[in-house]
Each structure stands twice: as C-alpha cells, then as structure tokens.
C-alpha cells in the first residue's frame, strides 16, 4: 500500500519537475494538457461514474475563470477572498441548476445544462464592461501571493498540484460508499433507491462537486493565458470533454485521462493532414467507440493486457 502511494507521489513529482526542462511553448501545451486531464477526470465522475450527461462542465470552467478575474480586477478584492467567493459562486450556481434539473429523467439534464451553457455565452457577450463583451478581459497578471510572484514553470507546478488534488478527491470519493452509490444510481436508479440510496441527493452532490472542481480548474486557467473571452468557453469544448471521456473509457479515471491526452494531442498530429478539421476525426472516433468499443480505449487496454 505504501509502495503504491510512494509510486503515485513519485509520479506527480516527475510531472511537477518536468516543466522546468520545457521551453515556454511546451510549457503552455503541457499546462493545457494538465487542465484538460483535470476537467476530464471531473466530468468522468459526473458522466462515467454517476451516469449524468451535462453540457455545463465547461461553462463552469468559464464561470470560475471569469469570476476570479472579475472579483480580482473589476472589484479589486483581495486574492484569498476572490478565490473563496469564486468557489461559492460556482457552488451556488451548480446547486441552483442541479436541485430542479436532477429531478428530470435521463437526457433532460443534458438539455437544461446545454441551455445554461449557451446562456452563459450570451451573458458574456452582452455583459458590457463587467465581462468585457465579445473581447473578454485581458492584460491582467496573477497578483503576488504572500509576496511571491508565481510565473513560468512554477505556475505549471500549481496546475500539477490542482490535478493531483482533483484526482485525490475523486479517487477517495470513488472508493467510498458514495462512489458505489453513484454507480448504483447510474446502473439502476430504482434498485439504488430500494437499497436506501437517496438518488436525487446523490445526483445533486455529484453535479455540484464536479461543477465546483471545474470552476476551480477555471480559476487556475485564468492565469495561464492571462485572458478570458467568450469563444474559449463555447459549446465545442463542452462536446469535446464528453468525447474525451467516451473515447478514453467512461467510468474509469485512467480512461478519462487517456481520452483527454489523446484528443488534446491529436490535433497537433492531425493538423498537417486535415488542417482545422480534426473535429471530423473526433466525431468518427466517438461513433466508432460507442458502436465497437463502449468501454473505450481503456477497455481495449484491459483486453490486451490480460
């Protein structure tokens, strides 16, 4: 057990040291890869483990990013206050959506959250000075934290820490009674209810928790590009995150991570071949995965490693 834990710690230490050996371009790619993995892990808990399809995950990422930027630079709040308030905003919004929406069956949560995601973009575009309209907000910098200015590779270490913390939270939950309750809710809500699982409450907790995690990831993202604007948080990425989890293997942390890595890096390899049309390949991959390999790439791995 301790050996296994040591291996995990070692793995994350390597991930955290790596950015110091990368140039600024590769640092940027690496940071975004880590953020996508973080998002995919959270979304996997919602979609893969608890069986809830939502398109708001990426919107919450945007809500987190925008709130921290607005709180810090438009309202000039101190850094710790802005972070806490940002999380509170995500949690309150998630609860406001989840409590009524999770009463609905099946795909309806997906549609409510799709509308929410679209509404978020409308609000961003029309928000005037508060959200910066279609141009968004740019030209800000991470304020010094306790006198420290974190920039360059050391900010990448912050993202590695975010990934590790997200994985730790989700892992612990997954391996507790709560994780089993979530899987029961996914596989058979009636049976879960009969076993004493409060189905609606489980759904609300999972939706709120994963949305808050996405929001926190968004706050970290806000200082990666030092700009937030509406196109970043559009619907394409909301679909992409779903596709990552499906292709990698829904319901498995490793699957979500593999899917995120593959679909994030694929455009870099594909662009000489298909230009900007890598989405076509993503769509085909998703259809193929659902038809031929519902367990995703991790399912393939299981079959061959056995």
């Amino acid at each position: 057990m301790t050996a296994k834990r040591l291996a995990w710690v070692g793995g994350f230490v390597i991930l955290a040291v790596l950015p110091f050996f990368l140039g600024s371009y590769h640092n940027d790619v690496y940071r975004k890869l880590l953020l996508w993995i973080t998002l995919a892990l959270g979304y996997n808990f919602l979609f893969g483990i608890c069986g809830q399809v939502a398109f708001s995950h990426f919107a919450f990422y945007g809500i987190g990013a925008y709130s921290v930027v607005i709180l810090l630079f438009q309202l000039n709040l101190p850094f710790p206050v802005a972070i806490v308030l940002g999380v509170v905003i995500c949690v309150v919004l998630a609860l406001a959506v989840a409590i009524p929406a999770t009463r609905l069956e099946g795909f309806y949560l997906a549609l409510v959250t799709l509308a929410l995601a679209q509404l978020f973009i409308v609000v961003l575009n029309e928000g005037g000075d508060v959200t910066g309209g279609t141009g968004g907000i740019a030209n800000y910098r991470l304020p010094p934290i306790f006198g420290w200015r974190i920039a360059g590779p050391s900010y990448t270490v912050v993202i590695v820490a975010l990934l590790a913390a997200t994985l730790a939270v989700l892992w612990r939950l997954d391996h507790s009674w709560f994780g089993r309750a979530c899987r029961a809710v996914r596989d058979n809500p009636e049976a879960a209810a009969a076993m004493g699982v409060d189905v609606a409450r489980t759904k609300v907790i999972v939706f709120t928790l994963t949305s808050a995690l996405a929001g926190i990831a968004g706050m970290v993202y806000a200082f990666v590009d030092n700009t937030v604007n509406p196109p970043i948080f559009g619907l394409d990425n909301a679909f992409l995150i779903l596709f990552m989890v499906i292709v990698g293997g829904a319901g498995r942390h490793a699957g979500a991570a593999i899917g995120a890595i593959l679909l994030f890096l694929l455009p870099f390899w594909l662009s000489p071949l298909v230009g900007h049309h890598h989405q076509l390949v993503f769509g085909l991959l998703v259809v193929a995965a659902i038809l031929l390999q519902p367990k995703g790439l991790i399912g393939l791995w299981d079959r061959f490693s056995r």
């Binding site: 069986g51 399809v53 009524p100 929406a101 609905l104 099946g106 795909f107 309806y108 549609l111 409510v112 799709l114 509308a115 929410l116 679209q118 509404l119 409308v122 609000v123 575009n125 029309e126 619907l235 679909f239 779903l242 596709f243 499906i246 049309h277 989405q279 076509l280 993503f282 769509g283 085909l284 991959l285 998703v286 259809v287 659902i290 038809l291 519902p294």
Partner: protein
C-alpha cells in the same frame, strides 16, 4: 396595428420553422425514446442541398425541393442503420444511441464545412422577394410560403397518424414497444421510418428558412435548440404540440425583442430561458398526451 400584424406574420413563419424541427424530434422520440440532436445539422445539410440544386444548378424549385427532402429522408434512414440500429439490437442503454448521434452531429457538420466555403451561401426564394397583402395582414412571400407548407405538412401528419394503419402502428409502438411487437408490428421498420420522416421534416425546415438566413455550416445548433424548446413547450405527447410550441416560442421571442426594454443581444437568451423554465417547471409540456 399594421406593425403588430406584420410582426405576427413573421413570428408565425418562424414559429412554423421551429414547429417543423420540433416535429422532427417528435417523430423520432415517440417510437424510440431517442432525442436526436442532429436534427439541426440535418436542417443545415438541406440548406446546402438547396444552395447546390436551386442556386448553383438552377433546378426548378418544386423539383429541387422534392429532391432535397427525398435525399434527407435517405440520410435519416442511413443514420438509423449505421448509428442507431446496431446499438438497439445489442441492447445497449438508451443513452448510447443518443451519444452516438452527437458524434454523427459533429461528423455531419465537419463534412459540410470541409466540402463548402466557410462564408454564408445564398439559397433562392421560390417566389422571389416581394410582399403579399391580404387585407390588413402583410408579409413577405417567403413567410406565407413557409406557413402554407408547414400547415400542409402538419395536416398530412394528422392524416397519417389518425387515418392510416401505418400511423396507428407508430402510435402503438410509442405507447408500448413490447406489446406492439407482440401484435406483429415490425419495430425496426417503424424506427427506420421515424428517422427518415424526422430527417425529412428537419430538412424541409432547413430549406424553408435558408433563403432568409443563408446556408452556413454553423446554422444547425441554434435551430436544434429552438426546435427542442418548441417541443418541450408543446409537449412530446401530440403532433399538434410541436406546432403550438413553435408558435408560442417564436411569438415570445419576437415580441420580447420588439417591445421589451432589454438590450437586443439578450434576446438570444429568450429561447434558452424558455427551455430551462419549461424543463424545470412543466417538463410534460402544455398539451397532455392523449390516453
């Protein structure tokens, strides 16, 4: 008053488009339970079909329209074959075909965006650009054309479901799949037909709306959301609900845009708010399913 009637005509025309998209969803949801979000992309494909046949090759309108709708029905049938039937036969959960169709959505959009230039492409009006006035009611030719075609489609649908054996078998499958199969109804044929019909209805909507907004590869998702909102407002229980929901949504949208004191950009949010409120407050829609 004139202004109001003018607005009412154009709102009715948009409502008819939403109603046709809602009908496309409904045709597929009723017998299968599958929400096919690709209907918006089907409307988009039909708009590009209109551009190709009617604008570039200058086919006569009626012939081009028939060809586009027939082609769309073929697309719907093929989609069901490739992305839905294998999953249903495997006994996969209902979510699997819904997600597979999301993949199809992206593939469809990208195929169009690879094949055509990125700018909006023109689609001709069947009767040119002009105004028709009947007493105090006035509107563009296209508005009246949309309204007439949509009413014909819904009348046809009503006839199909109420008067034909095929329509009855659709309803039987919608009410109870297993019982319908036991009564000798061919489930896979009904499913295939519902997808063909859904694609035909969505394609017609795309073709009718495209002269006003031009064919563009990103036009699908907004149509899909508006059509779905119309469906939720009207309720999935009855065919008339689709049209009613579409009209209500279009009137709300256009009258709020015209008279409500909110910035114009926010009016894009009206259908989204409508969708959220209806899903949360009254997910069964306004019309109840007939027992």
């Amino acid at each position: 008053m004139r202004d109001l009637l003018e607005l009412a005509v154009s709102a009715t025309a948009s409502g008819c488009i939403y109603g046709l998209i809602a009908l496309a969803y409904l045709l597929m949801i009723r017998p299968t339970g599958i929400i096919n979000f690709a209907v918006g992309e089907w409307a988009m494909v039909a708009a590009f079909g209109g551009h190709l046949l009617l604008y570039r090759y200058e086919w006569p309108y009626a012939l081009g329209m028939a060809a586009v709708v027939a082609f769309m029905m073929l697309v719907g049938w093929g989609t069901e074959r490739v992305a839905v039937r294998p999953l249903v036969e495997k006994g996969a959960p209902l979510l699997a075909p819904i997600l597979a169709l999301l993949g199809v959505l992206v593939v469809t959009r990208e195929v169009i965006s690879v094949s055509f230039p990125p700018d909006p492409l023109p689609v001709p009006f069947p009767f040119g650009i002009g105004r028709l006035e009947i007493g105090p009611v006035g509107g563009s030719y296209q508005s009246f054309f949309i309204i007439v075609v949509t009413l014909l489609v819904f009348a046809g649908m009503w006839f199909f479901f109420e008067k034909t054996l095929w329509g009855k078998s659709f309803e039987a499958v919608a009410l109870n799949r297993r019982a319908a199969a036991l009564m000798g109804i061919n489930l896979s044929r009904v499913t295939a037909l519902s997808f063909a019909g859904g694609a035909g209805a969505a394609g017609l909507a795309g073709l009718l709306v495209s002269p006003n907004i031009s064919a563009h590869y990103l036009m699908g998702v907004p149509l899909a959301i508006q059509g779905f909102t119309a469906l939720v407002v009207g309720g999935v229980g009855r065919v008339e609900g689709a049209l009613l929901g579409g009209l209500l949504l279009a009137f709300a949208e256009q009258f709020i845009a015209r008279y409500a004191p909110i910035p114009s950009g926010y009016t894009q949010g009206v259908p989204l708010l409508f969708l959220m409120i209806f899903l949360l407050v009254r997910p069964t829609g306004l019309l109840r399913a007939r027992a």
